[in-house]
Symmetry: C2
Subunit: 340 residues, 2 copies
DNA sequence: TTGTAGGCGTTATCAG
DNA sequence: CTGATAACGCCTACAA
């Protein structure tokens, strides 16, 4: 248990060879005898040597001309509602895990829709090599800034901007599937509750909702679509409206809406699932344990984070990578949509 | 608009002085003639020189102690259960907000109980000026490491270690209050469900649970105390046990346990609050919206983060600061503990 | 296949 | 008040 940091010089001395050889053994570059290489790797393992990224970056500066920090920025939305969503938390765990494998560390910063001073400070002080935007916007100030500035970045979610690297779950397909599932149960009048239309995800989900109807030759009831629901009072109004409307199902775009819906239904004496079915486009433990448990789409957010991080890093290191859609959803069918 | 970065050597050459002098002019350290200093600063302005943080960090590595990165490390627990808890997310929002005010940025890293390689990498590469540990452990590997290493740090929560700066909510007082509230309603046989005994918070809560009983001249039923509940199957076993035991109330240490408890009670035909009352030592929107809503302790986590950050920064900047207990809890009384 | 030497940009030490 | 110089840990021509 050495509290001390071990360097390639230490290794070189211990093994009676030169720093160069050690460097080569570790980086894998240059010709080197497999015997010596094994010896070095062995020592590295036993004394758990960790390369000093700062020195690496400084040395690399000469040849690449570029300043490297081995840090990635992760940008979180700053609105209150996002704080309740475990999505961002899971995402960052996936990001951090992969980043660590590549020797990168994570800088976290918040950004409100138009306030990106935190991101700016980090970028302009050269504290990061690239950035991950964890939410895409229709009018995406952070993305525009990073692009202008020439900073490599990836967005999590789909985007309308050109030449922006993105990684997304197949939200569209998943939502279509879930709505088809509901319609297949014979439901005919579905209400929809969702958040800000400035979030791309809201538009994607809405489109999926509509398309699923059309696919089955049905039409949605525009009057039962409630978007831009961003606080409790708007939500309460929407729910009250819905309950007066003779719908047979309520689809929530996020798990955050569901609690209030369940509460209000119970207060109004509306039984779930007998009178109205409920489903959510995003799952959480809350929906799993609510009474009744609520049908929802589950994605692998941690994996999404992992893929995002590796894409960004590869892109930073000069590789040509392109956007991709991850297929990894699952419909968690629960009591809230049961038919007898 | 030269696309090239300019270094202190460039400045030195251009001005016909030495690198040392330039360095001094820029850092403000050491004696220097105001005339030369002005010349340098002038040149710096005109050619917008930007210091190379990487080189700074590397150089600082030797005379370790003085270099400033204006970064703080925030260490998150890496276990699966923590990912579901909004506490850490709220905490970091508070931290980031205050840090930004002081010009600091946040580096986020995960640490399992004994695996602190991420933290080590950050510290040994001199990427941060200090650290915040968001969970305290009985056997606290990260804290010991930082202390040995001489890195300023603050822990969120109480700790058994000496000379460690800590900031905590008044969990003990709050828990005592809640239990007294329950006992005051005439409940006599309370069960308790909690997580790992290696977490200080678990011990604190348990002690409060016991002390509240003693204060009223009552004794707890040791057989109805279930700790180290760390996965669903253990939880299910515990609940089954409890329901066979003729208790009149169940106290959960965290909101995460409550969902399962409600579900199992419903399945067993046990009515809340008529047959059994339920309360939680930690609140969340889940408890607010569950059926029935569950009585719980609410803390201001964001504020806790803010105070933590400002304590750390002041400590980094040489001020003498000491641990403190924040008084900011509230008992959210809800239907799950109603008496008719 | 391996070693030597010099440099990446900055700061601190020690002379002038 | 200022200037050489030696580190910080790593990388890579260029030699051997």
């Amino acid at each position: 248990m050495s509290g001390k940091k071990i360097t390639i010089s230490d290794i070189a001395n211990a093994l009676g060879i030169s720093k160069t050889t050690v460097s080569r053994a570790i980086s894998g570059k240059g010709r080197i005898g497999s015997g010596t290489k094994d010896k070095v790797m062995d020592y590295v393992e036993k004394n758990n040597y960790e390369p000093n990224m700062t020195a690496k970056a400084l040395a690399g500066q000469r040849h690449s001309g570029k300043q490297r920090t081995y840090n990635l920025a992760v940008v979180w939305p700053d609105d209150y509602s996002a704080m309740e969503i475990p999505f961002f938390q899971k995402l960052i765990v996936g990001i951090a895990e992969i980043a660590a494998n590549y020797g990168y560390d994570i800088m976290l910063t918040m950004a409100a829709d138009d306030n990106i001073t935190g991101l700016k400070r980090i970028v302009e002080n050269h504290k990061v090599d690239g950035a991950i935007l964890t939410r895409t916007l229709v009018d995406d100030v952070p993305a525009v800034y990073l692009k202008e500035r020439g900073v490599p970045f990836v967005v999590v979610g789909s985007t309308n901007y050109q030449d922006v690297l993105w990684i997304d779950n197949d939200n569209y397909d998943a939502c279509v599937e879930l709505v088809e599932f509901l319609l297949g149960k014979g439901l005919k009048r579905l209400a929809l509750i969702g958040g800000s239309k400035n979030h791309i995800i809201t538009r994607t989900r809405f489109k999926a909702f509509r398309d699923a109807h059309e696919k089955l030759g049905l039409k949605i009831d525009e009057g039962a679509v409630y978007l831009d629901i961003e606080n409790t009072s708007k939500l309460d109004d929407a729910i009250k409206d819905i309950l007066n409307k003779d719908v047979d199902g309520i689809v929530c775009m996020d798990d955050g809406f569901v609690g209030e819906v369940l509460t209000k239904c119970a207060e109004a004496g509306v039984r779930i699932p007998e009178d109205i079915k409920i489903a959510s486009f995003y799952d959480s433990t809350f929906l799993e344990n609510s009474r009744p448990p609520v049908t929802a789409l589950r994605f692998n957010d941690r994996n999404l984070g992992a893929v995002t991080a590796s894409s960004l890093i590869r892109s930073i290191e000069g590789e040509k990578v392109s956007g991709q859609m991850l297929k990894n959803h699952e419909i968690m069918i629960r009591k809230s949509t049961e038919t007898e």
